[in-house]
Symmetry: C2
Subunit: 381 residues, 2 copies
């Protein structure tokens, strides 16, 4: 129950161990087509360029920036946590000029600040932001931010690593140009792949670049020769076959449950966890309106040893929760309810184990009330 | 029995399906240490910077070039197949100037040509070449090429994707500066990871770069914060946990067999396969002295339909062999004997299935003699 990798569904683990076939085997190519189509469903898009990058989420981020940013491009990056900072690094390494719009960690990106920046920088080409900040658990209003960017003729790059599959992500309805995610969060899959989707506008920019994409491995002009359509595929790199078996199975599970049901399950489990933690007296970092159900950042009570509590949870109860990152290191715990981890038994375990460990360490919490608060939410269905 | 992904050992497939734990879990960090140490054995090196890149071999190649080539650097690339061409692309995309030394496809790199180029270009900074060309099955003399490069103060980047685990690769003895490989060839593991090793000289160059590494994901200055030594690891990207379980198991299998024994097994199976194919009347692309045991490129007999034969082998006998790449497309088949695939039953299946299919299509081969030729080699042990 950390910030990911989340619990992997047993069906996905089983899929990972199936015999490896060739990356150009007709059966595998059929599986690639199914994977793309199920990813379109997950992203709620009809973008033909919807596929998994053969490396973790950070490489998905780099795929978006390396393909869309050209040397000299001004890119507005909205930062409200660790991953906005990583976006800045990406812009710089692509030869672009990042223009940072900062919001406090734990808050949503402020649309007003973005609008001001867009007005002040009519030469900006791209707006980038994190939809769901894994470092804080804050969710920003992607639809509104994208609409603002488009009013000022900017393309958009959106980080949906933690949101995809857990909370609504509607690529077509929100008109997102380029988006990336990860497999190890709400898709319940193993880490190692990064689903991306590019719309027509973004693809046009890739195709009409003045300069070559600086990464050979991530150049979509080449990758599309392998992941594109048709039965004839050109070898680009050797696809991570077994990891793709896992993603395929994860998407089948998502499709069977239904996206809306998956979102509702994450919300319900979050409400139960929240009831328990708040009954104990713990407080959330992010205000309720912008809180992600799947990533719960709670403030560590005064005087409590961060690492000691996490180690005890891991060693005694086989339960991992996440540490704070960056500005929040040592100040918060991040409790994930992602994908297959978002289950009632996990909420119970987490609340009861945390209560036990905090009591052991004499932390000032309310004891004996959390579990009934959890049960009340779960019974209300 | 294609050019990779090769047959994956069942123990490795089983390892892939073990429960996913966190990328900062102390148990996982212990496993990372073991993996690094077993990779040092596989590469025959004591380089502390020996680790798997979290993406396929092409990303391992890019890791070497992106970290070692700075804008303006002149890089001598020895090309004798597809992958030398990919090296050229990498140099260009890093802002370097590639200087191509060409050898015919199927031949080893000619040391004389390299020496001439080094003399003519005293400002060259790096020499790059492919130790084992997967597109042709030709092996070059890495020790000699590296020695020449060092005489002229050049660093070396060596592609060992197809050689590692199948044929001698001696990083320290040959004094290779930077090397990359893949997991899906002679390590018998699933595709998706790229083991690399950098010596002190190469690491110094990375640390003293004038410019930032253009890839955030592959920047070793950052990656080493996670893969470096000590028990305290900084999060960089989320490691592909289950793929790393697979590699760990693959390296345990290699260690148990012993590198020398693995090399000998590849050689023996190659001799058996060669006896069978030659008895049938097929001929090899590469001359005997430079032939890789694990990658057998044979000329397609006159008038035989390349794709039809490969499809029939796949659909009737569940046997994949590889097509030709680049200049050799349609002209050769590439038969892999890599890692767990290098077994007597596979040699028998390949020779007998190929004989059956070629006979069906009326190809001009010698019938009824191949199997006894194979058996003679196998019995000679």
């Amino acid at each position: 129950m950390g910030p990911g990798p989340s619990d992997v569904h047993p069906r996905i683990l089983e899929a990972m161990s199936r015999p490896t076939i060739g990356h150009l085997d007709p059966l595998f190519i059929e599986m690639m087509e199914q994977t793309k189509s199920m990813l379109q469903y997950a992203f709620q898009t009809e973008n033909p360029l919807t596929m998994p990058v053969s490396a973790p989420g950070s490489a998905g981020m780099e795929t978006c920036f390396a393909n869309l940013v050209e040397p000299g491009d001004k890119v507005i990056v909205c930062q409200n946590g660790v991953f906005g900072g990583r976006m800045k690094e990406n812009v710089e390494r692509c030869g672009g000029t990042p223009l940072m719009i900062e919001d406090e960690w734990g808050r949503a990106v402020d649309p007003q600040k973005l609008e001001d920046a867009l007005k002040a920088n009519p030469d900006a080409k791209i707006v980038a932001f994190v939809h769901a900040e894994t470092s804080t658990g804050a969710q920003s209003d992607a639809a509104e931010l994208v609409a603002l960017a488009h009013q000022h003729d900017c393309l958009t790059i959106v980080d949906a690593v933690t949101s995809l599959g857990g909370t609504p992500v509607k690529v077509d309805e929100w008109d997102i140009d380029a988006i990336y995610s990860g497999t190890q969060k709400c898709l319940s899959c193993t880490p190692g792949l990064s689903p991306i989707s590019f719309n027509k506008r973004a693809l046009e920019k890739v195709r009409n670049r003045q300069s070559t994409v600086q990464s050979w491995f991530l150049d979509l002009n080449l990758v599309m020769g392998y992941w594109g359509s048709g039965t004839k595929r050109a070898y680009h790199h050797t696809a991570p076959i077994n990891a793709l078996y896992g993603l395929h199975e994860a998407l089948r599970i998502l499709e069977a449950e239904g996206l809306e049901n998956a979102w509702a399950r994450h919300r319900r489990m979050h409400n139960a966890l929240k009831a328990g933690l708040e009954a104990m007296g713990l407080s959330f970092v992010v205000d309720e309106a912008h809180r992600l159900p799947q990533l719960n950042a709670v403030t560590i009570p005064e005087g409590v040893d961060d690492a000691a509590v996490r180690n005890r949870l891991l060693n005694e109860f086989n339960l991992e929760i996440g540490a704070g990152l960056g500005a929040l290191a040592g100040k918060v715990w991040r409790i994930g309810l992602m994908g297959h981890a978002a289950r009632a038994e996990n909420v119970l375990l987490c609340v009861s184990a945390l209560e036990a460990v905090l009591n052991e360490r004499g932390a000032p919490i309310n004891s004996g009330v959390a579990l009934s608060a959890v049960q009340k939410v779960l019974a209300a269905r």
